[in-house]
């Protein structure tokens, strides 16, 4: 009888511990989300500040792009399609998209040809 009682007590104890861990995990997850949001905001902020300072950033190719195309390029680099066909869908890792590339880098060529 005693043995069974101890076992039940142990189970109660374990259950408490598990639920504690769960609460901690949830709290940590919230913290991580907050941090990554803050990080993203700061990255954008940093980029704006650098632009204000007139500092050079981005690739050689990017330098020749208009502001709106630079925004699209950033979205593309962040892993999203910017092309008409799949706009807003997530790009699979390390897979490039010919439609997006045409939109970002191709347009410029046509515009410069027209002028």
């Amino acid at each position: 009888m005693d043995k069974r009682q101890t076992m039940l007590n142990d189970f109660d104890h374990l259950q408490d511990q598990a639920s504690d861990i769960l609460t901690q995990l949830a709290a940590l997850k919230v913290q991580v989300t907050t941090l990554s949001e803050e990080n993203a905001e700061l990255t954008v902020e940093n980029q704006h500040l650098r632009e204000l300072l007139g500092e050079d950033n981005g690739s050689d190719e990017a330098k020749r792009l208009s502001k709106s195309l630079q925004n699209l390029e950033r979205l593309y680099e962040a892993g999203f399609h910017v092309c008409r066909e799949f706009y807003g869908q997530r790009r699979e890792e390390h897979d490039s998209c010919a439609f997006c590339l045409e939109l970002i880098y191709g347009e410029r060529e046509r515009a410069s040809k027209a002028s």
Binding site: E77, E85, F86, E93, S96, C97, L101, Y105
Partner: protein, 381 residues
């Protein structure tokens, strides 16, 4: 229904039709093979709703040794039926259907009785009334399919890209396929201009089956188009495929018109080098190889570089036939280049690059107009 036939001739037709019959279908009767027997021919039909194949065995074909005692029709379970027919002992066999859709198959001492279904319940094949017909040489058409179908997407989330886009205007027949990572386009000039212009998207899977059926026999393929179906006629065999609905993206704008750097090389040599480089890149998380081109006053070199942090690295200098233009460093998925290179066979090819961020193209050195493969690079910095 009762007939006697040469088994080999029958099996040949059976194999053709079996390509269309799938065991995984939502309509049970489609797991069956439909046989329609008239006084002087047997018509075989198989379908999985996407593709349907119909072929005829005629009594006036001497090899068929076909004698029909009584016309009729039946649907037989394709998998069992073809296994049975292939294992029968004698060179000829007799199939008789008496009542209740039970078929008696006899050959020599062996006799099978298998349960069939009422042929009247079998779905009707699409009717294609269009008289506008395009005739293509079998080997040319098979080549068009095999060189473009490599670039179709296998992702069902982009249904329209799982097909090959065919356009026909006058005597110009164009096939293009892309999965957005690479593109393959093939143009053929027809001997006789078509009277109407056509614009259709044929599922890649149907085309793969069709190209297997064209086989080595270089017979002509006749193509007829209707609203949502396409029909290919190969001799006595009719191949129907559903068309994909929707608008294919405009692909002409994807192909760069100018280039900064060009390289000429023999396709098999580059293929072998890429295969070596990809041995290691496959191990790495991002499957890319890097191509470095430099054209200085004294020396022009092209180097392939593959790297996998866990395993090691590979570097190889390519022996190019020609190399001009700006220096360039470009990374890409070697599997796409491998697929593209295989479609060029033994020929010499010309690669044209614009920048490290823009797609590059491969064309045969001799004929850069009618066949083009395009590959998008991967950004690695």
């Amino acid at each position: 229904m009762k007939f006697t036939v040469n088994r080999q001739s029958f099996i040949k037709k059976l194999n053709d039709v079996s390509r269309a019959i799938s065991t995984k279908t939502t309509i049970p009767i489609l797991t069956g093979l439909k046989l329609v027997v008239t006084d002087n021919e047997i018509t075989f039909t198989g379908s999985d709703t996407d593709i349907s194949i119909e072929t005829t065995l005629r009594a006036n074909d001497d090899n068929a040794e076909l004698t029909v005692e009584e016309p009729g029709n039946i649907v037989l379970p394709a998998r069992f039926f073809s296994e049975i027919v292939k294992r029968l002992p004698e060179a000829t066999m007799t199939i008789a259907v008496k009542e209740g859709f039970q078929a008696n198959i006899t050959s020599g001492a062996a006799a099978f009785t298998i349960n069939g279904l009422d042929a009247n319940n079998y779905p009707h094949l699409p009717e294609i009334e269009s008289n506008d017909e395009v005739t293509l040489a079998g080997d040319v058409f098979r080549d068009i399919i095999n060189t473009t179908v490599i670039a179709v997407s296998n992702q069902e989330s982009r249904p329209i890209l799982t097909g090959v886009h065919f356009t026909l205007a006058g005597d110009e027949f164009t096939a293009v396929a892309t999965d957005s990572h690479r593109l393959s386009q093939r143009k053929v000039t027809l001997p006789n201009p078509a009277s109407e212009t056509h614009d259709v998207i044929i599922p890649g899977k149907s085309l793969v089956e069709l190209s297997r059926m064209i086989g080595e026999e270089q017979q002509d393929v006749k193509m007829r188009l209707a609203e949502n179906q396409v029909l290919f006629m190969l001799g006595d065999t009719a191949f129907y495929s559903r068309l994909l609905e929707g608008n294919y993206p405009d692909t002409s704008r994807l192909i760069p018109s100018e280039s900064e750097t060009t390289m000429e090389i023999s396709a098999p040599a580059l293929l072998a080098a890429i295969e070596r480089a990809s041995l290691l890149s496959h191990e790495s998380r991002n499957n890319v190889v890097k191509l470095t081109l430099s054209d200085t006053a004294t020396d022009a070199t092209a180097t392939i570089f593959g790297n996998s942090p866990d395993v090691g690295a590979v570097e190889e200098n390519l022996s190019t036939l020609a190399l001009d233009g700006n220096d360039l460093e470009i990374s890409f998925n070697p599997d796409y280049l491998k697929d593209a290179l295989r479609s060029f066979g033994q020929s010499q090819i010309k690669l044209s690059f614009t920048s490290a961020l823009r797609p590059f193209t491969l064309v045969p050195s001799e004929d850069g107009e009618n066949f083009i493969q395009l590959i998008t690079p991967v950004r690695t910095f």
